[in-house]
Symmetry: C2
Subunit: 519 residues, 2 copies
């Protein structure tokens, strides 16, 4: 069958199941039922005997105590980013015990998770689902079809939706805990492996059958402030180190110094300003990349010039947003991860710098995530097509490069979503007739700002009206594509096998696209 | 049938249902299933049209929008204490609309809720469940049998257990919100009606079918810091005032100056010290009454003398505990309500002063509530019997005077639970052969400290061993009772009708006792 975007998707995908086809960005925001969950109760002391202890001697003991066995789903989070040791340590124990057919439900996979490739090959790991994946060995292994079942790519809001709905049932969640006490109170902002807030794993703490905290920093009770509370944690394991500080956070995150990036940023900010989004109470989210931060810098200048105070900055937080908070340009920050040391420190100490759960961030099936309140969203893209559909999952050679992260959540929720990118990337034009893989549907993308011109989604007649006297290089997206094609030439079409190696779920759990193995 | 404490309880109670009899304080701490819940999803704007708004014009509109109808359960919380306007305002609208047969699931009822009596008489309200009730008009109405169904008395931990298990299904939760934004982010610590943390209502926000925030302080988005997040709130209503500041918090809470109270406090502290509980990492909870605070003051002196730092203070928080936190005598506070202005301010600003949900506080059916980590608990009693069973529900004339609150949660969890009381109250001896109503079972009560002597629960052979050379006036509880009876005379037995007006649930949901209507 074809879904409404014309993507060819089977009704049933082996290793994934029945497909609910994508029906539009706002088509399935209906009442939803949260799943049940059965959890053990931890006995207090009975006055004469001590109660159940949670502290275990090793990850091996945790794997034994939780009864981890073939076919189960284990979950991990990616706040330790490319410094994470926990996923590899746990999976090694699982592999060493001869357990097979494991579904790794990670919020993110990085290059540091290369050891998983061996477990994929040996059948220890047969399924992977992620909301974020960086280009690297695991992404390559999935592209090559080494994984038995198709990988499932969700968004940061779609994952908690799936967890709460019972679509993604986690048997055992392993939480990398930079600060933890013996009874499982956890925060991510303190300790030698401090990484900032642990937002993406909150739903697993609430909905997994069992939860194991893995820490290298066992502190006296109670760990404080608490992000994940003891009533959701079954076991605590201490290890020497949960991560490599160099991979966990950047020392600093910086605005780009590339002149093309700066030019794109200036144009994006001008567009935002001309369409009336620089105003009292405005909210804003950008990525942590140099060009995104350059847009933030331009927006900041304009806020200062107008004397505007924003309501909030959101998403993955950088020093740049902390500075804006501290300078009074935002009243608050909603934080799902911290990219640098300044952000980690701020998240751990400033009450206006608030962690938000993945569900509060982007889950479309609750009483309204924060993305619904977002005005301005600055996005990236590996490809974008003339229907404004965006691909951030695959590169133009069909290789898996990423997952939605917050892309389709924020695109759907924000009042103006702008893709900023060089028109040409690696000698290829990012503008396509059809993107290789749809991650965010075009109806949620409002503008494309490139170094060679700007295209406004024709659905946004309101924006076009406001921009009719603009001096910005606004043009039809097809015209922009022609410019790109002239410069780069028409790319050769990629050839694919029939093998589906990835299923891309839209934030509401419908299938927006699939990834087929490139020939 | 008789439960294991020998209390005569029917197997089925009309208006309550099948009875699960109490089987021991630690007998039912098994794996438990959390209930499902279906919630609406709030639409974001679709770029061209605004999304669903939550702000309603009036409580009347909220009652209409939520589809409130005969037979439903509505819930309220008691953090505005004797200053609460919200319960009465909402129930007036419900009554005015001719809706009947409503179950009021309040976390607490105070004298200010007198208007509910009329609704009880007229059949608007047919059921009430509470974890706290102060002596007053509603308590009297229940005692007199005016309510169609028996009232249900739970503990602070038992209520969230019931909510999570689906035993207490809330159709619409009304949250009195001292600080709220248009999208339903809430805190209790800011605004003209600031009352402190809103902990007891967190489970309702998560498990009610619909949630309405009622506020007199609509602030720009986002309310900050957030206690209850927007993803759990359907509607927001503004009113002129949610409460009377004079009834919400005391200006100050003070240590008693009564010499008998001070004598009891000194003896309790000496007992705690001699049994080894004044030590590094100790934790402590007392009530907010003058004698309880006097025990805290004595404990503080001994902590200072030994140079001991405690892990945490917990429960309802007073300026006294805030002072101990700020002086470094505790590393943290776990807070479920704030009794005075100092505590409200601290809860709103100090990251070490942490709100805890009712479930985190005392729910026996999760991965371990904070009461499991509590060392020292100072308790009150209206009666205690020679089996150490405590009554805080009824007075010695059979009138309803209160509910467990955290009594049986903390008694079960703490390492030493001590009831402090004058031996004689209102010319009656608090020590009975059998208490009128069991709230906390004797197996969880370790000591009784009175002005006339101290009794240690004989089960606590460890305490008796440590106290064998003590100069404290330790005696058998029967001896202490004889002293009381000699002074006060044997009380006349109360006569009861067969009518059950109240069901007392133990924290685990079993029925520990019933309240019959006095003749």
């Amino acid at each position: 069958m074809k879904n409404i975007l014309g993507r060819e998707i089977p009704e049933y995908i082996e290793g994934y199941g029945q497909v609910r086809p994508y029906k539009g960005a706002y088509a399935s925001i209906d009442p939803r039922t949260r799943t049940t969950i059965t959890r053990r109760s931890i006995k207090p002391g009975n006055k004469l005997e001590p109660g159940d202890a949670k502290l275990l001697a090793s990850i091996e003991e945790a794997v034994e105590k939780t009864g981890l066995k073939d076919g189960m789903t284990v979950s991990f989070h990616h706040h330790l980013r490319n410094g994470d040791y926990v996923t590899n340590m746990v999976m090694k124990v699982i592999a060493d015990k001869g357990i097979k057919d494991i579904h790794v439900a990670a919020t993110g996979i990085f290059a540091c998770h290369e050891p998983l490739v061996e477990y994929i090959k040996s059948g220890v790991i047969t399924g992977i689902s992620v909301n974020y994946i960086s280009p690297g060995p695991v992404a390559k292994a999935i592209t090559k079809g080494l994984l038995s079942k198709p990988a499932v790519f969700r968004s940061h809001g779609g994952r908690p939706r799936a967890v709460e709905a019972g679509d993604l049932h986690v048997d055992v969640a392993f939480i990398a805990a930079p600060c933890c006490d013996h009874y499982g109170n956890i925060n991510g902002t303190h300790g030698k492996s401090a990484c900032g807030v642990l937002s993406y794993i909150y739903p697993d703490a609430q909905y997994a059958d069992q939860v194991v905290a893995v820490t290298d920093n066992l502190v006296p009770y109670p760990a404080c402030p608490i992000e994940i509370t003891q009533d959701f944690v079954d076991y605590v394991v201490t290890v020497d180190s949960i991560g490599d500080p160099n991979g966990i956070v950047s020392g600093t995150t910086k605005v780009t110094s590339d002149p093309i990036g700066l030019k794109i940023a200036a144009a994006a900010a001008e567009l935002i300003d001309e369409t009336g989004y620089i105003k009292e109470g405005m909210s804003c989210q950008t990525g942590a990349g140099g060009t995104s931060l350059a847009v933030a810098a331009e927006i900041k200048k304009r806020m200062q010039a107008k004397g505007v105070v924003g309501s909030f900055g959101a998403g993955g937080i950088t020093a740049y947003f902390v500075e804006m908070l501290n300078e009074g340009l935002f009243r608050a920050l909603f934080d799902v991860q911290d990219f640098d040391l300044v952000s980690v420190a701020s998240a751990g100490s400033n009450p206006k710098h608030m962690a938000m759960s993945g569900s509060l961030y982007g889950n479309p099936h609750n009483c309204g995530p924060v993305v619904n309140n977002l005005d301005i969203m600055i996005l990236g893209a590996t490809e974008i097509d003339t229907d404004f559909n965006v691909n951030v999952v695959t590169g133009s050679d069909g290789t898996i490069m990423g997952a939605s992260g917050g892309h389709n959540d924020t695109a759907a929720g924000s009042k103006i979503s702008i893709v900023v990118t060089n028109l040409l990337k690696g000698r290829l034009c990012v503008l396509r007739d059809k993107v290789t893989t749809v991650t965010s549907p075009g109806e949620t993308i409002d503008a494309l700002v490139t170094d060679r011109g700007i295209a406004i989604n024709p659905r946004r007649t309101d924006l076009l009206e406001k921009l009719k006297n603009s001096k910005l290089p606004i043009m039809d997206i097809n015209t922009l594509k022609e410019i790109g094609d002239k410069l780069a030439g028409k790319p050769d079409p990629i050839e694919f096998t029939d093998r589906i190696v990835g299923v891309v779920e839209y934030r509401d759990g419908t299938v927006i696209d699939v990834v087929r193995q490139p020939k």
